[in-house]
């Protein structure tokens, strides 16, 4: 990975992320957006993150893409704890404990 690529990504992401945050606070001011736009935007995070996580969980790079019981269990525990407790930190801790326990027991 060369430093030109890295800096291109950093600078474009900086400008783009700021743009996404500024677009309405800065430019729209107190005018309202159409409801159908807001309705789609409400599902942005939940539309992107699960799709991002799914292949990483099912086909981890560390096992050369082979599905791994410890990692699947850890993923399930993290998701369940996050869902039921709404506690981000607790979900991470429980997921990590499950992963290490799985890797220790199953190798």
């Amino acid at each position: 990975m060369d430093s030109v690529t890295i800096w291109t990504v950093i600078l474009c992401l900086a400008a783009g992320s700021f743009g996404l945050r500024f677009v309405f606070i800065g430019l729209i001011g107190d005018r309202e957006l159409p409801e159908w736009v807001l309705r789609h935007l409400r599902y942005t995070a939940v539309g992107v993150l699960p799709g991002l996580a799914a292949p990483l969980v099912l086909w981890p790079a560390a096992t050369n893409g082979a599905t791994d019981t410890s990692r699947i269990s850890a993923a399930a525990v993290t998701l369940a704890v996050g869902y039921f407790t709404k506690n981000f930190l607790l979900a991470i801790v429980c997921g990590a404990v499950t992963l290490y326990l799985g890797l220790y027991l199953l190798g």
């Binding site: 992401l13 992320s17 800065g26 996580a53």
Partner: protein
Amino acid sequence: MAITTTKTAFWQGFRDGLPFVLVLAPFAALFGVVATEAGLNVFETLMFSVAVVAGAAQFTAVQLLSENTPTLIVILSALAVNLRMAMYSASLAPHFGPAPVWQRALAAYVTVDQSFAVSIARFEREPDMTVQQKLAYFFGVIAPVLPNWYLFTLLGAWGGKSVPPELALDFAVPITFLAMIGPMLRSIPHVAAALVSVAGSLIFTFVPFNMGLLIAAVLAMMTGAYAELWFSKRERSDG
């Protein structure tokens, strides 16, 4: 306690933001570790956190960079993860709209999941707050978080090289995403959108340059929006 002055608004925000340090400091340290493992140097890693200030997008970018994805796709994928910031921006605009533009620009820079969520809840609870009090509160929430975001990125980047592979840190990234997804599944439309996102990203893996993720995301957002519309119509006809 009701907020009465700009100064009390800031310190109330500061107190409300303090617990997030516990969550975001390890997250930042993890980014420092993952980014240096992927081949970024310490300064590049720190600048990533300073310039982008969005954990999930930073992890996405570094993950894709390490897979030698074309630069444009890295940028578009990470920005897709950050699209929710536009929603936060739209939601905050009516509260900050009348403020001077430099204050709104500063507010935009520090808009993250946590500062948005805790502030919008407070503004809805206390509609009598003035624009200046709302901004002071918002900056108060982020004040304890942001310096630690930078600091712990740096500490993670410095310590990163000494992390052994047995720690399975590769899996820290999906675990972090899953821990964020769990609390987001608040309603049936949210769950439906998440399921479409997973199915879409697995089905569209054949699409080059990770564009499958973007296709999956658009389908998931449409699913969420239509499911919400369907449920609210049904509620209305029941009521």
